[in-house]
């Protein structure tokens, strides 16, 4: 296979890659004036025709989302850049912001022109201090060079970018949680509709886009929609609703591999290729037991499913929730799936915002059941209980406001259906190792 030449990550190893000077030396902002002089609808159409789907987790077609804004709205219209990146296993937005902030800023400018917005708020998770300083310096450089502020490059286009730091809550990555948080409130996701495009930040029409999505926008306007469509996977002819999986994608690979990495590849590589060809194989000469395909919310692939294509449709075909953030976490064959699942459940229980009962109670119960199993007090019937709780929570069964709870349920469903015998053995052998007196004590 020919080596794929990275585009989104092309500049990250250049000296001073984060500076305006080096970005411009590599052709950055070169076509900006021309793009800002195009009709906004024409820019939107290019993005729409490119087939770009959001990289933040849901895979919604980007250009299409932009067209949901009300026509001829007097404004203001807002762009929120979702830089909350908190899905366990995911770190590509961080690299994009630390190493090439101007690529993102150019994407923000293009998107704001397309959606007729003059105000962009970049919601950055607090933990990304290094990203914050890189972005802050880059934004200041832009104001100094007339690339932000009023009448940018003499085109009449105005834009301000505000950097807004979060405070360590995963739910702020959900787009309406993000909006509530930006407004100064607790990050409780909103009931939809109305969708943000109609009523979002400060009750105004708002588009929320992920960092990587906007970096793709920069490259699409620079290289053309045909370039973007030449990469990745076309729509499945058997599925008329499949928009395809075009473009390059930043895959994060971590966990039990020799060389954890973030690598840019055409959408549609398999989990096996990522592990073996890009991440140096499983560490310590071990074998794969399970793989998280796109952040823990997406569930697990088993060792038999490693040839699953990691495009937008692939993980779903293997029973996972979706591609998510394309963050691959590898679990080796010496690790207990009970421990892995417990870690996922504890995370979700900690991060549930608590406003929907099935999510608040369900995440907490699943965690407690697994705690009990780990303490040697589990019963095999608990596995059915776990599946039942998992099946009752989420947008899919229609019981909750946001997708956090689907993402909490999925690892449970996948782990128990794909690794059931391991769970059963664990429960039986743990029970045997704990005396009945200990069990009685622990129960009180």
């Amino acid at each position: 296979m020919a080596v794929f030449e990275p585009v989104l990550l092309a500049r990250i190893n250049r000296p001073d890659s984060a500076t305006l000077k080096s970005y411009q030396a590599d052709g950055g902002y070169a076509r900006l004036k021309e793009i800002l002089s195009m009709a906004p609808a024409d820019v939107t159409n290019i993005v729409k025709d490119s087939g770009l789907r959001g990289r933040g987790g849901a895979g919604f077609p980007c250009g299409l989302k932009w067209t949901f804004l009300p026509k001829d709205h007097p404004g203001p219209i807002y762009l929120c850049i979702n830089a909350d990146e908190s899905e366990p296993g995911t770190f590509n937005n961080r690299i994009l912001m630390e190493k090439d902030p101007h690529q993102l800023i150019e994407g923000i400018m293009i998107a704001c022109h397309a959606i007729r917005s003059s105000n962009a708020y970049l919601y950055l998770r607090y933990e990304y201090g290094t990203s914050y300083r890189a972005l802050d310096a880059a934004v200041k450089e832009c104001y100094g060079a007339g690339l932000l502020g009023k009448n940018i490059l003499g085109t009449g286009f105005n834009l301000d970018i505000v950097l807004h730091r979060g405070a360590g809550a995963y739910i702020c990555g959900e787009e309406t949680g993000l909006i509530e948080s930006l407004e100064g409130k607790r990050a409780w996701p909103r009931i939809k509709p109305p969708f943000p495009a109609i009523e979002g930040l400060f009750r105004k029409p708002t588009i929320v886009n992920n960092v990587e999505t906007l970096c793709c926008v920069t490259q699409i306007l620079k290289r053309g929609k045909e370039w973007f469509q030449s990469i990745g996977v076309p729509p499945d002819p058997a599925n008329p609703r499949d928009p395809g999986s075009y473009g390059p994608k930043l895959y994060c690979v971590s966990g039990h591999v020799n060389k954890p990495c973030c690598v840019e590849l055409p959408l549609g590589v398999t989990a096996r290729e990522l592990i073996e060809e890009h991440a140096g194989g499983v560490w310590k000469g071990r074998k794969v037991k399970a793989v998280v395909p796109g952040g823990i919310s997406m569930g697990f692939l088993s060792a038999a499913e490693l040839d699953t294509k990691l495009d937008f449709a692939g993980p779903g075909k293997a029973g996972c929730l979706g591609l998510g953030t394309a963050a691959v976490v590898v679990v080796d064959d010496q690790t207990s799936m009970v421990d892995v699942l417990y870690n996922c459940c504890r995370f979700m229980s900690h991060e549930s915002c608590g406003q929907c009962t099935p999510c608040r109670e369900g995440t907490s119960w699943m965690t407690r059941i697994l705690e009990r199993i780990r303490a040697g007090q589990g019963k095999v019937e608990d596995l059915n209980l776990l599946t039942e709780v998992a099946g009752s929570m989420g947008i899919i069964p229609g019981t909750t406001i946001c997708g956090l709870s689907d993402g909490a349920a999925w690892p449970v469903k996948n782990a128990i259906s794909k690794f059931r015998s391991e769970f059963e053995e664990y429960i039986t052998s743990r029970r045997a190792s704990v005396t009945s007196a200990q069990r009685l004590m622990a129960a009180h």
């Binding site: 933990e127 730091r165 405070a167 407004e183 976490v329």
Partner: protein, 157 residues
């Protein structure tokens, strides 16, 4: 006498022009105060509320939603050391690292050392999983940590 210094008030007010509502300055204001005073006291909440034209309970509600902010009974040490316990770090020894540090420095996660040097915390995924296990020192990430390199980092504080 006011809790917030004139300098802190000015920094909070400097955030106003960035947003169409003063309420949106809640998180920036909490960060400014928390960072400087190592806690947000009840008095500070009242004064932030006054600046933002909110009821103190509104500021408190937002503040308490984010476990990030400490109240006056649990102020932060001079530094904050977060050890990641989420999946990629857990798979590479993050939980053991947190346990070792807690034992070595005699603090549980959430507590501050007796000399006030640092507050130990567990973190959820720090977005640096390629360097698992990792530690966030204040807001800078340190990757591929071992007991030894983590202790060296802390001892240098």
């Amino acid at each position: 006498m006011s809790v917030l210094t004139e300098e802190l008030r000015e920094r909070i007010k400097a955030e106003f022009p960035k947003y169409p509502s003063k309420r949106a300055v809640t998180l920036p204001a909490l960060h400014i105060v928390h960072d400087a005073m190592r806690a947000v006291s009840t008095g500070a909440i009242e004064e932030i509320a006054e600046l933002l034209e909110l009821h103190p309970s509104e500021v408190h509600d937002t503040m308490s939603f984010y476990n990030f902010f400490k109240d006056e009974k649990h102020p932060l040490g001079r530094h904050r050391v977060w050890v990641c316990r989420s999946i990629s770090c857990m798979l590479r020894g993050g939980e053991e690292l947190l346990e070792k540090l807690a034992e070595k420095y005699g603090v549980h996660p959430g507590q501050t050392t007796a000399d006030g040097k640092f507050t130990l915390e567990f973190a959820e995924c720090l977005g640096a999983c390629e360097g698992a296990p990792c530690i966030l020192l204040n807001d800078e990430c340190h990757m591929d940590m071992t007991d030894q390199s983590a202790s060296e980092l802390i001892n240098r504080l």
